[in-house]
C-alpha cells in the first residue's frame, strides 16, 4: 500500500499539490485530470524525481528515510523522458538491470514485443518519439518493482504496442501482484485494461474516486 502523509509540493511559492492523507491499496489505477492538474508532479514525487514536504511510504518503507529500498520497489516512466543522445538502448537496459538487480533477457523479450529490438544497439538520438516512448516503458518494467508508474504511456505509440503494454499490465498485476498508476488522457478500450479504480487530480490534490 502506498501511503501519503501531509504531502505538499510547492513550485516556488505556488502550492501545486496538497495531499493531507491518502492510502492507495494494491491495484491498477487510472489517474485522471486536466493538463496542469498535478498528475505528472504526483508521479514524479513517488518516483523520486521531485522533492516534496511530508512523507510517502510503501508498505512502511519511507522514501525519505530509506530511499534506495523504496526505489527498488517503484519504477517510473516519464511522459517525455530525455536520455543522453549518444547512449544506446543497450547501455540504458544494462544500467537499469544493474541498479534494479535484474537480467537483460527479460528486457530483451519486451523490446522484441514492442518491435524496437532492431535498434537495440543504436544511439537513442536516432530514435523516433514513439521508439523512445517504448524504450522508456520497457525500462520501467525492469527489476522487481511492487509499483510501476506510467505517465501517458499510450501517446505516440502504435495500436499494436498499446495492446502489448495493456496485456503486460494486466498479466503482471494478476500474476505478480504488481500495482500500477497510469495517467492517460486517452480513454482505454472496454476490457483492454483491468482498472481497479480511478484517481483524480484536481484542485491541487489527489483523491480516490469511489465507484
Amino acid at each position: 500500500m502506498l501511503q501519503f502523509d501531509s504531502v505538499q509540493k510547492h513550485y516556488g511559492t505556488f502550492l501545486a499539490l496538497d495531499i493531507p492523507s491518502l492510502s492507495i491499496a494494491n491495484g491498477v489505477y487510472w489517474l485522471q485530470g486536466e493538463n496542469g492538474s498535478g498528475k505528472s508532479t504526483f508521479l514524479k514525487m513517488i518516483g523520486g524525481l521531485h522533492p516534496f514536504a511530508g512523507n510517502i511510504s510503501l508498505n512502511g518503507c519511507s522514501i525519505k528515510k530509506n530511499r534506495v529500498s523504496f526505489l527498488q520497489q517503484v519504477n517510473y516512466a516519464e511522459a517525455e523522458t530525455l536520455y543522453p543522445l549518444f547512449l544506446t538502448a543497450k547501455d540504458l537496459v544494462q544500467l537499469y538491470c544493474y541498479t534494479k538487480k535484474s537480467t537483460e533477457q527479460k528486457a530483451l523479450v519486451l523490446l522484441e514485443q514492442l518491435h524496437i529490438i532492431d535498434a537495440y544497439q543504436k544511439p537513442v538520438g536516432s530514435y523516433s518519439s514513439g521508439m523512445l516512448k517504448k524504450l522508456s516503458i520497457a525500462l520501467a518494467f525492469i527489476g522487481n518493482p511492487k509499483w510501476i508508474l506510467l505517465d501517458e504511456p499510450l501517446i505516440t505509440v502504435d495500436a499494436e504496442a498499446v495492446a502489448v503494454i495493456c496485456s503486460l499490465v494486466n498479466r503482471l498485476h494478476s500474476e505478480e501482484d504488481i500495482s500500477f498508476i497510469i495517467t492517460s488522457h486517452q480513454p482505454f478500450k472496454t476490457g483492454q485494461l483491468g482498472i481497479s479504480q480511478t484517481l483524480s487530480a484536481a484542485h491541487q490534490t489527489i483523491i480516490m474516486n469511489h465507484a
Partner: protein, 375 residues
C-alpha cells in the same frame, strides 16, 4: 543584405552564442586581462605578441588555439541551425547561394570577433616590424578559417543537416558507459572545443610551471596552488556537467543507487577528467614534490571539483553566483595553502563536498531559468 535579416541572425545565432558562453569568456578575460596590473597590461600584451611574431612555434600554438575556437563557433552555430526552433531560417534558402554565404559570413565574423580583433593587432604589429612571414601566417590562417566556417554554415542552411558539426564527424561509441562516466562522454562528444581548450590551457600552465620554476628544495605549496588553478580552469566544464545532469540524467533519480555510491562515482568522474593533468605533474616529481605528497595532491585535485559540483546543487545558484563563490573559495584556499595544512585541507574539502552533496542531491529541483542554457 537586408537589415532585418541581419538583425534576426544577430539575435538568434550571435547573441545566443555569447549568452551561453558567458562563463567561458569571463574566464579568458580574466586570464588575458586580469592577471597583470592595469599599468602593465599593454606591455604584457605587446611582449606576448612579440613572442608570437618572433617564434613560429609560439605562433603555431596560438593559431591552434584560434582553430579550436573556430571549431567551437562552428559546432555551436551548426547546432543552432539544426534546432527545430530555428527552422524558419530555411526561408533564407530563397536567396542566391552567394547571398546566403554573405549572411553566414556575417554570423561567423560576429562570433569570431574576439579572435579577429586580436589577430589583426598581431598582424599589424608584425607588419610594422617587417616580419611579413608572421603577418601572412596570421592573416591567411584566419582568412581560411573564416571563409571555411561560413561555407559550413551555408551547407547546413541549404541541406538542413539534422545534427551538429562535431557530432556528425565523431564516430560511434565503442565502450561500456557506467553511470558515473556518462557526463564525461557528453563533454567529450558534445563539448569537444571547450574540453580541448581547457586541457590545452591547463597542460600549458603545468608545463610552464614545471619548466620555469626550479625550487632549491621540494615545496608542495606551489604545485597545490597550480593544481587549484587547474581545477578552476575546469569550472565551466563542471557547470556544463551539472546542467546536463538536470537535462538528460533526471531519469537516474529513479534508480536505487545509494548516495555514497553516487558520490564515489562523482569523485571517479573528476579523477578521470583531471587524469591528464595528474599524469603530467609527474614531470615535476622529485624537483617539486615527494612521493609522500602525492595523496595530498590527488585528494585536492579530486575533492575541489566535487565541491564545486556540490555547490551547484544548492538552490538559487546561477552562473554569476557560482563564479563568485568559486572566486571567494580560491582566494581563501590560496592563503590556507600557504600555511601548508597538509592532508587536512583536502580532507576538509572532501567532507564539505560530501555534506553538501548528500543534503542537496535529492532536494535539488531544476530551476535553471537564471542559468544560460548551454549550446
Amino acid at each position: 543584405m537586408h537589415r532585418s535579416a541581419l538583425t534576426i541572425l544577430q539575435r538568434v545565432l550571435v547573441n545566443h552564442f555569447y549568452k551561453v558562453n558567458a562563463g567561458f569568456f569571463l574566464f579568458f578575460f580574466f586570464v588575458l586581462f586580469g592577471v597583470v596590473k592595469g599599468g602593465q597590461l599593454i606591455d604584457y600584451h605587446l611582449s606576448l605578441i612579440q613572442g608570437m611574431i618572433e617564434s613560429f612555434v609560439f605562433l603555431g600554438c596560438v593559431i591552434l588555439i584560434w582553430f579550436l575556437y573556430t571549431i567551437k563557433c562552428v559546432n555551436h552555430i551548426t547546432k543552432q541551425l539544426t534546432e527545430p526552433r530555428h527552422r524558419f531560417l530555411i526561408t533564407l534558402n530563397t536567396l542566391s547561394s552567394k547571398e546566403q554565404y554573405l549572411y553566414m559570413l556575417f554570423v561567423h565574423i560576429q562570433v569570431y570577433m574576439p579572435v579577429l580583433v586580436y589577430a589583426l593587432i598581431v598582424a599589424f604589429i608584425a607588419a610594422s616590424q617587417h616580419l611579413f612571414g608572421a603577418m601572412w601566417a596570421v592573416l591567411i590562417s584566419n582568412l581560411v578559417m573564416i571563409l571555411f566556417s561560413a561555407g559550413i554554415y551555408r551547407r547546413y542552411l541549404q541541406r538542413n543537416v539534422n545534427e551538429g558539426f562535431l557530432k556528425k564527424i565523431s564516430g560511434k561509441p565503442f565502450f561500456p558507459k557506467p553511470l558515473f562516466s556518462i557526463p564525461l562522454w557528453f563533454i567529450q562528444k558534445e563539448r569537444t572545443p571547450m574540453l580541448l581548450i581547457t586541457k590545452f590551457f591547463t597542460l600549458l600552465l603545468l608545463y610552464g610551471f614545471i619548466n620555469l620554476y626550479e625550487p632549491d628544495t621540494p615545496d608542495i605549496r606551489p604545485i597545490l596552488l597550480i593544481m587549484m588553478l587547474v581545477v578552476v580552469a575546469h569550472a565551466a566544464i563542471i557547470l556544463q556537467i551539472r546542467f546536463y545532469e538536470e537535462e538528460r540524467l533526471v531519469f537516474t533519480k529513479n534508480l536505487p543507487v545509494p548516495i555514497i555510491k553516487k558520490f564515489i562515482g562523482l569523485l571517479l568522474m573528476y579523477l578521470l577528467l583531471l587524469l591528464p593533468e595528474l599524469i603530467f605533474i609527474w614531470k615535476g616529481f622529485a624537483l617539486h614534490f615527494q612521493l609522500t605528497d602525492l595523496p595530498q595532491i590527488l585528494l585536492l585535485t579530486v575533492s575541489m571539483p566535487a565541491f564545486f559540483h556540490s555547490i551547484l546543487l544548492m538552490k538559487d545558484i546561477d552562473n554569476e553566483s557560482y563564479y563568485r563563490i568559486l572566486f571567494v573559495i580560491c582566494a581563501l584556499l590560496f592563503f590556507v595553502i600557504l600555511y601548508n595544512p597538509g592532508i587536512v585541507l583536502p580532507t576538509v574539502i572532501l567532507l564539505a563536498a560530501f555534506a553538501l552533496y548528500q543534503s542537496h542531491l535529492n532536494d535539488f529541483e531544476k530551476n535553471m531559468n537564471s542559468i544560460a542554457k548551454p549550446q
